[in-house]
Structures are given as structure tokens and as C-alpha cells.
């Protein structure tokens, strides 16, 4: 038996997931399209008053990003669960929690990163100040991985269910609240010219906490769902 190191398994898994995503382009583009659509609907619903849009732009972009991230969660484990490769993952001698981290990282690269790239364009649509766009991207960079990491726990709990959709949103959304609050708050504070380092540090600490704490419950939940 060839023994492969943890790092090699980690990167092999990452590469496999990325490759699979690039072969199924829809997985890549659907959350992005959803994100753009939701943001486009808002001016149509509230009226194109520039001041109003400017004021609520961070909220709109973040809520839309949050929903897009939530809708794409299913792809982390669903197809692996259906074709049985998830069981092989759990049989792997390396700690499941770290392998889970590889899958979540892949998921973020597929869904979170594109959101981050397209967000500046949408921010311009909504008339946000150009100086604030950089900050928006930073909050997305710190915040969206947290969404994927927390979402992984919930999707691991519901992956065995046929209809997990609404249940998943019920499980996940309350946990997304702190990220939403601090991310939008940072941008709003910056709008009125106040310092935002505190909010960014808090978002960063959420990210570190999520990276260190969520893989365990995710791994445990996967074991439960496959039992």
C-alpha cells in the first residue's frame, strides 16, 4: 500500500473538486448569476433613487452574497454523497476534519471567489463610492469563507435527506447574522468616514475561529449522515 502524506491527499482532493467544478460550468456560474440577478432586482423594487440605493448598497450586496453562498452550499457534499465517494473520504486514514477543509476551500474558490470578483461591478451599479469598493471586497474576502465553513456543518447534517433545501436555510441563516452585521457595518462606518479596523479584526477573528472550529462538527456530522 502506498502511503500518501496528508498534504498530498489534501491537495489531490482540492484539485479533484476544482476540476469537477470546471467540467460542470453551471455549478460555477449559477450562484454568480443568482447574485447579479438579486442585486439587479433591488433598484427595480425600491426605485432608482441614487441616495437611497447608495445608503442600502452594502446591505443589498451582502444579503445577496449570503443567499448565493447558501444556495451553492449543496454542491459541497451532495454529488460526493450520491456517487459514494464521500464514504471513501471517511475511510481515508487521514483526519476527516482536514479533508473536509480541503473540500470547503475548493467550494469557496468555486463560489466565494467569483462573488468577490464580480461584487465591485455591482457596487458601481448601485452607485457606491469608489473608495469603498476596496473595503467591500475585503469584507467579502474575510466573510464569505466563514459562510462556506459554517454552511459545511449544516450541509453535512442534511446531506442524507432528500429535501434539505428549506431546512438548510433555517439551519444556516441565524449563524450568518454576525458576519452580515460586521461586514455591512464596516462599510457603513466607512461611508461616514469613521475607522473600520475594529470590524475588520472581528471579521478576521470569525474567519480564524471558523477555520479552526467548524471542521470537527462537519466531520462528525458527515459520519452521522453516512451511518
Amino acid at each position: 500500500m502506498i502511503k500518501s502524506s496528508l498534504a498530498r491527499v489534501f491537495f489531490a482532493l482540492l484539485k479533484r473538486d476544482l476540476l469537477l467544478a470546471f467540467r460542470h460550468r453551471s455549478e460555477l456560474f449559477n450562484p454568480l448569476l443568482f447574485f447579479v440577478l438579486v442585486v439587479t432586482l433591488f433598484p427595480l423594487g425600491t426605485g432608482a433613487d441614487t441616495k437611497l440605493l447608495q445608503a442600502i448598497a452594502p446591505g443589498i450586496i451582502w444579503v445577496a452574497a449570503l443567499l448565493a453562498a447558501m444556495l451553492s452550499l449543496d454542491t459541497i457534499f451532495r454529488s460526493d454523497f450520491e456517487d459514494g465517494s464521500l464514504e471513501l473520504l471517511l475511510l481515508n486514514p487521514h483526519p476527516t476534519s482536514i479533508l473536509v477543509l480541503a473540500k470547503v476551500l475548493a467550494h469557496w474558490l468555486i463560489t466565494g471567489l467569483p462573488l468577490m470578483i464580480i461584487a465591485p461591478l455591482l457596487a458601481l451599479f448601485l452607485g457606491m463610492d469608489q473608495e469603498l469598493i476596496g473595503l467591500l471586497v475585503v469584507t467579502l474576502f474575510l466573510g464569505t469563507p466563514v459562510l462556506s465553513l459554517i454552511g459545511a456543518v449544516a450541509i453535512a447534517l442534511t446531506v442524507g435527506l432528500k429535501r434539505g433545501g428549506i431546512l438548510l436555510s433555517l439551519l444556516v441563516l441565524p449563524f450568518y447574522v454576525p458576519v452580515l452585521i460586521f461586514a455591512t457595518n464596516a462599510i457603513e462606518m466607512a461611508m461616514s468616514g469613521l475607522p473600520v479596523t475594529a470590524q475588520l479584526w472581528i471579521l478576521g477573528s470569525f474567519l480564524l475561529l471558523a477555520i479552526t472550529l467548524t471542521p470537527w462538527p462537519t466531520a462528525a456530522a458527515l459520519k452521522l449522515s453516512l451511518s
Partner: protein, 247 residues
């Protein structure tokens, strides 16, 4: 010690024992509730700022305390169930959720009843009301997860995991909501924190809080007994019990 715990926690023994406890718990709860209501509605003086409307706190505050207490109890029971595989603890965790949701709902409704005359609106995005609302969603998540998974042993372990993740997050959610609230300059009326509360108000409040604790144990045992019967339906002790009831 562990032997004692395992004996008490074994479903047949616990089923019998809890049956004997329930009348006592019911009695204590009702007595305490009556005492608390008498103290709160009749003895306690009128508040000089809020008038009589403050009397809602005698149910609102204990309900809000219990909404958190039950969630923590649920997470602790879930952890015990996960670590030591004690069936009873799993049932306790699962059965706590609807009771906790009830307390949370009660805290929300009474909070809004109190808010209408004080703030002039049924709902205000006040920090405490908002975190209570999120707590209600957490309870609903636990309950629907349990309902969605067909195998109840797996379901109760999934619930225990979710409750544990939730209990770590509750302080984070609470403090971020508080931060959000103070920065958006919502209603600045501090809710119930007066520098010194009249003893004639404090005592009924504490009696009501104790009554709610006993009530929780009472309602919990009632639910746990049903849960135990359902899970152990094919075991010998349930069959013996049914035969006893029949004959």
C-alpha cells in the same frame, strides 16, 4: 457514581421514577406560579415610570431567562448523549427544544406587548428582541432537523451536534446584535435595568423564575416519557408495562 447514573438513566427505571416525580413537580409548579402571580399582580406596587404595564415583566423576564437556559440545557444534554451514549440524555436534548421554543415565543410576544405602550410600536428592532427572534429560529432549526431525519437515533445525535454548534454561537450572535443595535441608534430606553428594584417586585420575579424552572422539568419529563416509549417500543419492559396497564 457512574453505576448510579447508568441505573437511573436506564429507560425502564427512569420511566417509572419520572412517573412518581410528575405529580410533585406539577404541585410545586402550580403553588409557585400562584404565589408569584399573587406577589406580582397584587402585592407589587405600581411602577412610577411605566405604570401598571410593567407587570408584564413577571412573565417576560423569566421566559427570556428560560429561553436561554433551556438551550444551554439542551446542548449539555446533547453533549452527554454524544460522549457517553446515554439514551436518556439524547431524549432530554430532543424534548427540550419545543419547550424552549415555547419560552422564546412567550418572551417575544410579551416583549412586544410591553413595547407597544412603551415604544408605540408592536415591533422594534431592539437588541434583545432581535436576539430572542434569532434564538427562536435556532430552536425551529433544531426541531425541524429532528423531524426531518427518519432514524430517530441518528436524528437525536444530529440535533445534539447542532445544539452544540448553536451554544457556541449564541454569545457571538447576541453580542453582534447588540453592537449592531447600538450603532444604528435604535430605541435607547434601557429595558428593565433600573438601578435598584423594589423588593416587592424582585421577590415575585424570582418566584416566577423558580416556578418556570420547575415547569420546565415537569413539561420535559412528560415529553421524555413519550419519547422513551416510542423508542423502546419493541423492548421487554414496554411490553411488560402494557400488560400491567391492560390487566
Amino acid at each position: 457514581m457512574m453505576k448510579f447514573i447508568h441505573k437511573t438513566a436506564s429507560p425502564p427505571y427512569f420511566y417509572q421514577l419520572s412517573g412518581r416525580w410528575i405529580p410533585w413537580l406539577a404541585g410545586i409548579t402550580v403553588l409557585l406560579l400562584l404565589a408569584g402571580l399573587y406577589g406580582g399582580l397584587i402585592v407589587a406596587p405600581t411602577d412610577y415610570q411605566q405604570g401598571e404595564s410593567y407587570r408584564i415583566i413577571f412573565i417576560h423576564v423569566p421566559a427570556a431567562w428560560m429561553s436561554l437556559f433551556v438551550y444551554i440545557a439542551m446542548a449539555v444534554a446533547g453533549a452527554i448523549g454524544l460522549i457517553w451514549r446515554i439514551k436518556l440524555a439524547e431524549s432530554v436534548a430532543v424534548c427540550s427544544a419545543p419547550i424552549g421554543a415555547g419560552f422564546t415565543l412567550l418572551a417575544l410576544i410579551t416583549g412586544s406587548m410591553w413595547g407597544k405602550p412603551m415604544w408605540g410600536a408592536w415591533w422594534v428592532w431592539d437588541a434583545r428582541l432581535t436576539s430572542e427572534l434569532l434564538l427562536l429560529f435556532l430552536y425551529f432549526g433544531v426541531m425541524s432537523l429532528y423531524a426531518a431525519i427518519a432514524d430517530k437515533r441518528v436524528a437525536s445525535r444530529a440535533v445534539a451536534l447542532l445544539a452544540l454548534v448553536g451554544v457556541v454561537n449564541i454569545p457571538v450572535i447576541h453580542y453582534s446584535v447588540e453592537w449592531w443595535n447600538t450603532l444604528h441608534q435604535g430605541p435607547t430606553i434601557a429595558k428593565f435595568d433600573k438601578p435598584s428594584i423594589d423588593l416587592r417586585m424582585l421577590i415575585p420575579l424570582l418566584i416566577m423564575a423558580t416556578a418556570f424552572k420547575f415547569y420546565y422539568v415537569w413539561a420535559l419529563l412528560l415529553r421524555v416519557r413519550v419519547e422513551l416509549l416510542e423508542r423502546e417500543r419493541n423492548t421487554q419492559w414496554v411490553k411488560l408495562l402494557l400488560k400491567q396497564l391492560k390487566g
